[in-house]
Symmetry: C2
Subunit: 387 residues, 2 copies
Amino acid sequence: MDFLEQSFNVHFDYRVYFTSNIFDAFNMDFNSFLKERSQPSTVQKILFVIDEGVLNTHTELTHQIRSYFNNDLPVSLVKDFMVIPGGEEAKNSSRNFDLIIEAIDKNGIDRHSYVAAIGGGSVLDLAGYASAVAHRGIKHIRIPTTVLSQNDSGVGVKNGINYKGKKNFIGTFAPPVAVFNDDRFLATLSERDWRAGIAEAIKVGLIKDAGFYHWIEQNADQLIDRDRGTMNILIRQCAALHLQHIASGDPFELGSSRPLDFGHWSAHKLEQLSEFKVLHGEAVAMGILLDTFYSALSGLLPMQKAERIIQLFIKLGFEITNPLLDVQDENSEILKGLQEFREHLGGRLTVMLLSDIGIGEEVHDLDVALLKKASEKLDEYQYEMTK
Amino acid sequence: MDFLEQSFNVHFDYRVYFTSNIFDAFNMDFNSFLKERSQPSTVQKILFVIDEGVLNTHTELTHQIRSYFNNDLPVSLVKDFMVIPGGEEAKNSSRNFDLIIEAIDKNGIDRHSYVAAIGGGSVLDLAGYASAVAHRGIKHIRIPTTVLSQNDSGVGVKNGINYKGKKNFIGTFAPPVAVFNDDRFLATLSERDWRAGIAEAIKVGLIKDAGFYHWIEQNADQLIDRDRGTMNILIRQCAALHLQHIASGDPFELGSSRPLDFGHWSAHKLEQLSEFKVLHGEAVAMGILLDTFYSALSGLLPMQKAERIIQLFIKLGFEITNPLLDVQDENSEILKGLQEFREHLGGRLTVMLLSDIGIGEEVHDLDVALLKKASEKLDEYQYEMTK
């Protein structure tokens, strides 16, 4: 066999900044970032893609950004902001993708220019994907505005849009050049969005860090009371665990390594079946509970630990199940999520279960009869709650 | 400033195999490759995307592939082949991209399965792009069938499709898992395709490797006579220089480093202006000559070397200019290629010129009056040739 061997490493780095009021005239974080990376004899531009929901609660934002860029900044602001209705709808078709590509072309955004996205996970996923493929990769800055995007999706290396209802069927692994977590945006979140983001933090605690899980239990009251300081700690720790998992593993998932997933096979399917009326974090909470009780019923996890976990979700005000999550038999719709999950990750089916709080354990198939029992358990709890 | 720092390397490797009759029952190259990478307890599939032009001259190909996969292979062949009309049209809209995504979805091709593309550069670019973004990256195998794709585009890490006539406006950097250069496909190439591919080899010689350039001069007669052995040497050396350039530089062009470009700013524009009637390699030949005479007229390169270079292209039967390449004044259409080239690479304009055969030299702007003179020079040669 005659061949030439190609082999190389590509280095990636970026920072996740924690800040308040990022476009306040006196906040120099964003300003310094752009200055440090300015390129003499190059005109760098920046195009903002903004979640409409964020603009509705922060009506001053565009004005503030314009003023901020009136300061002596080495980057030229593209006059028109792209405003995208947020939520899953943003990434449910290729229409918004096409609009961003068009704006990149029209405004002459090149590989040394920026596309900055401000919004929830869906708008970030969408803008990240468009940035990753235009000119084979424009520098992308993420400014996540929800708990979920600040502690989870927004700090990682993935982007994507849905295809025929399949979550993130199309996308890339493309690290941002920076992430700015601004806690001002948390104050105006709806109660649902505030709560939903906590599910991913509980997930990471459950499979990776018992201490973090216990900290969440101990601070549940403050989280319910919407204490921003407590939420900042939760977000920082969850983001740190995420970054660590990515860097220490297989960042672009080229091998068989697993992302930081637990409860996600059913969560993704539930979102789709509910036509995305169930938020990602809400679906993740239910998915976690389904797989937690499955872990307990299969003898992997002591039942009392499963009960302890469900109490935390109940205390935080999560719905713990949904009729669409019910497993009746092997033809139940939700079980299609297993096959789609396998296809999306590729290779053999691998599902994370729990053997203890803080310790995930992978299995390669699930027993439908036990899943049915687990889903009935959730129904019983739900019935008790609403009685 | 409060931040978390993320930093990691991603390793990529792949082989470029040189083989003959890849799907012959006794050729074990492809077979061994798949076996070495087989994953127990995983069903791996392979979807073939084939250039229609290749099927027209190799009518036995699909039958041969089916037989090949009847052997004891650990990968299951997707029954339907996707056939895509080749040439630039393949990547000129998103239609074919959509079709491949649909086929990936319909056939349940996952991240551990393969999309193998057989064809010229356009079909490979198209299939590579679709593979790179479906499920955030399916394993992609390239089987380039033209001189150009075997020595240049097919062995590298880029893919892409055009957007509003702009070459490769949308795409990614995504290394294939393997490239198989099969010289059987060279025998059936049209004269234009055979010749066009030599332009990129001359380009690499001119800017990187004087010895290789001289070797091409010395072997021009054999190349004209379509000697396959000579062409194999040319392809192998050109591919090797390409791989080296990628690995030793900035493979994903994250910084300001330059791809192996010479004569390309005008070549890309010329292709577009001619509605892709001028082939990429043909346009590259003219682009090289324009910038070679520009180098000479600006005093960088001795004029006699420019004359030597044009003689090689003439001997090989290349057209040396085209009315669409003419530079009249700063409003000439072809000059828009400079701006688009700058935008595509990003940052400051950087154009490669020659200071000697084998030595490229970068400059950051071009003088329109000199370009006009260079383009007139080409017209004079063309006039002499056709007289």
